[in-house]
């Protein structure tokens, strides 16, 4: 919105000292958060942070490069299983195992990127969906991955520091998240990011101008898979136990929904979308304990519906919220934010 006078200003990370100040305040708040909050809220924060990482990666692919992926649960699973196996069987320390597992996921991402050169839309969706299903099936069958018995996550040790509480893990997680988000933001502002956006907007025109479609499309898949892999590796330690059944198609669909609801092509949007959907997911199961509405719903259930299925109301609410956001603001939550800003900019005229 503000005028940029040269290229350096355009790619600068912090556009003014005020932004730096608020950023430091935000960092302070995030790091001090576990001192005030209960363990449960820290657990929720961990869960949301992981989804933010994955959503940002998926946003790069879907929002900035214009592809589609319904198989991100597969990369998530590769990250989770990879990290645990590298730590348990190969004895690598956590800080090494995590990026290695994510790089393996990125490798798979590269392979998944190859069909994307020829496919688009629902065709690419099915190809990625197939990939996600394949990963779950293969992991479930091969004994190395513990099969369906699942794997337990070992403890993380970083030097002398053993992480075994949610709060300690939170510190590590927040650091990684901030680092990854800053990296993504930088990536988007450089020529690599511009190449992605060019591919989304007009890929034939982009290729005539010298953008190597093969390289950048597969790169987009690989980077987004890398992020999902990191998210998966961290998830294994939040949950302390992983099993192939966790990485379902529903999970992939949820990731996609987070990105779209938050706002395609906007990093702030992915953060907001991930936060909102995860929070709803975890909190909606308590819907019956809302004072008046809860009682009314129970009464309704006893007479017209089944009281046994009453917890399914959370799906109805979840789905309705998703539909309403997309109906009224196709640009997602970020669009809501932009619209609010524009409105207040010219208020009260």
């Amino acid at each position: 919105m503000d005028m940029k006078r040269d290229y350096y200003e355009d790619v600068r990370l912090f556009s003014s000292p005020a932004v730096v100040f608020w950023f430091v305040v935000l960092l302070g708040a995030l790091y001090l958060f576990p001192l005030f909050a209960e363990n449960y809220y820290v657990y929720v924060a961990n869960y949301i942070a992981i989804n933010i990482i994955v959503a940002t990666g998926l946003n790069l692919l879907v929002g900035y490069t214009g592809q589609i992926s319904l198989g991100h649960a597969g990369f998530f699973a590769i990250g989770a299983y990879g990290t645990i196996i590298l730590m348990a069987k190969a004895g690598l320390p956590f800080l090494l195992a995590l990026p290695c597992a994510a790089l393996i996921a990125a490798g798979f991402g590269f392979f998944l990127g190859l069909p994307s050169l020829r496919l688009e839309g629902p065709y690419l969706a099915i190809a990625t969906l197939g990939f996600g299903l394949t990963i779950t099936q293969v992991i479930g069958r091969v004994e190395l991955f513990g099969g369906r018995e699942g794997l337990h996550a070992p403890d993380i040790t970083i030097g002398p520091w053993i992480i075994d509480t949610d709060k300690e893990f939170y510190i590590l997680l927040i650091t990684l998240t901030i680092f990854l988000l800053l990296f993504m933001r930088n990536l988007i502002r450089t020529r690599v990011g511009r190449a992605f956006i060019a591919i989304r907007d007009a890929d034939i025109a982009a290729s005539t101008m010298g953008v190597n479609i093969l390289y950048y499309k597969t790169l987009a898949f690989a980077v987004s898979a890398f992020y999902a892999g990191i998210g998966g590796g961290l998830y294994a330690f939040v949950l302390k136990f992983i099993e192939p059944e966790i990485f379902t198609l529903m999970m992939s669909i949820m990731f996609l929904a987070m990105v779209v609801v938050g706002g395609l092509g906007s990093m702030m949007g992915s953060i907001a979308g991930a936060t909102l959907l995860c929070w709803l997911d975890l909190k909606l199961r308590n819907i019956l304990s809302i004072p008046y509405i809860g009682d009314w719903l129970e009464h309704l259930s006893k007479n017209w519906f089944s009281i046994t299925g009453v917890s399914n109301i959370q799906f109805i609410v979840f789905g309705t919220i998703m539909i309403l956001i997309m109906l009224f603001e196709p640009l997602g939550l970020f669009g809501v934010w932009i619209r609010t800003k524009k409105y207040w900019r010219t208020w009260p005229f």
């Binding site: 197939g130 299903l133 996609l256 779209v260 299925g309 399914n312």
Partner: protein, 291 residues
């Protein structure tokens, strides 16, 4: 040898229900250009509606089914009218998320109303009654599904190719503004397509329900139907059906001879392989993008 034929026959039987779901998805994609993720649940609620009519109100079977079809058609029209149309300047991903939202709402609704335990559908044909041709067995229900799938495919194909409504639908898909200029009521066309698609889905749901009836019964058929529709070409009705049969046969053959565990994986690998050679599916014309 008889095993091979039996597997192919079983594959055709399963392929029929995938074909019906695939048909439903292609119909919507032809006009709205959005893969409808709520397809399975729309079929689900129609089947449960039929079951409710049959068990709670004790209606005659044919009356109950007809009412269920009517319900399905109205539901489809209603969803298009009330939800999809209200989206302002939608992009494809936004519409997909809307269909996912619809899917969750309907699924939650059905689970809430009927509970999660498996139910039974009082169907006139015993699902496990079978005919024997030599050593090959074929369930009567499968024959009915096969006939419905092929019958609907022919009816819909003829309808879309030769009737005025079908022509209007093609026009709406190719260029909706131009269609409106020449007098095609695009809104009504979209509503009708959703209604027809929901009806086809309801047929699929009703034919699946005798063997299995609980709120999550349509997930797998919908997924396979979607995959079949993609493999056949999202804009081609016969393509979806042929691809669905191929999918069913490949799964059964692979499961029988090589490995049951990986049969779903192989199915998807083959789909991806097919797509790599024919990016728009087997039977659709590949529209080369204009710069």
């Amino acid at each position: 040898m008889t095993d091979l034929i039996q597997m192919i026959v079983s594959g055709i039987a399963t392929g029929s229900s995938y074909a019906l779901m695939g048909l439903a998805m292609v119909i919507i994609y032809k006009t709205s250009e959005v893969p409808n993720f709520a397809q399975g649940e729309m079929a689900l609620i129609s089947s449960f509606f039929a079951m409710m009519l049959l068990t709670s109100f004790n209606l005659n079977v044919y009356l109950a089914f007809s009412l269920a079809f009517l319900f399905a058609a109205v539901l489809g029209c209603f969803l298009e009218f009330a939800v999809l149309r209200r989206a302002k300047e939608p992009n494809v991903l936004g519409m997909i998320v809307i269909t996912i939202g619809i899917e969750m709402v309907i699924l939650g609704f059905v689970s809430w109303k009927f509970g999660a335990e498996q139910k039974t559908m009082p169907f006139p044909i015993d699902p496990y009654d079978s005919l024997f041709i030599g050593d090959i067995f074929l369930k009567k229900l499968d024959i009915l599904t096969l006939v419905s799938a092929l019958g609907l495919m022919v009816v819909l194909f003829v309808f879309f190719r030769f009737s005025k409504l079908g022509l209007a639908m093609k026009a709406t898909q190719q260029n909706s503004v131009a269609a409106r200029i020449v007098g095609v009521r695009t809104n009504r066309i979209l509503m009708t397509t959703w209604g027809i698609s929901s009806l086809v889905g309801a047929v699929a749901g009703l034919l699946i329900s005798p063997t299995i009836m609980h709120p999550y019964m349509m997930w797998d058929p919908m997924l396979k139907g979607f995959a079949a529709a993609v493999m056949g070409g999202m804009t081609s009705l016969p393509g979806a059906v042929v691809a669905a049969y191929m999918l069913g046969i490949i799964e059964n053959l692979f499961g029988g001879y090589i490995s049951i565990e990986f049969k779903t994986v192989v199915a998807f690998v083959i789909i991806v392989a097919v797509l790599c050679f024919k990016p728009s599916g087997l039977f659709a014309r590949h529209y080369v993008k204009k710069v």
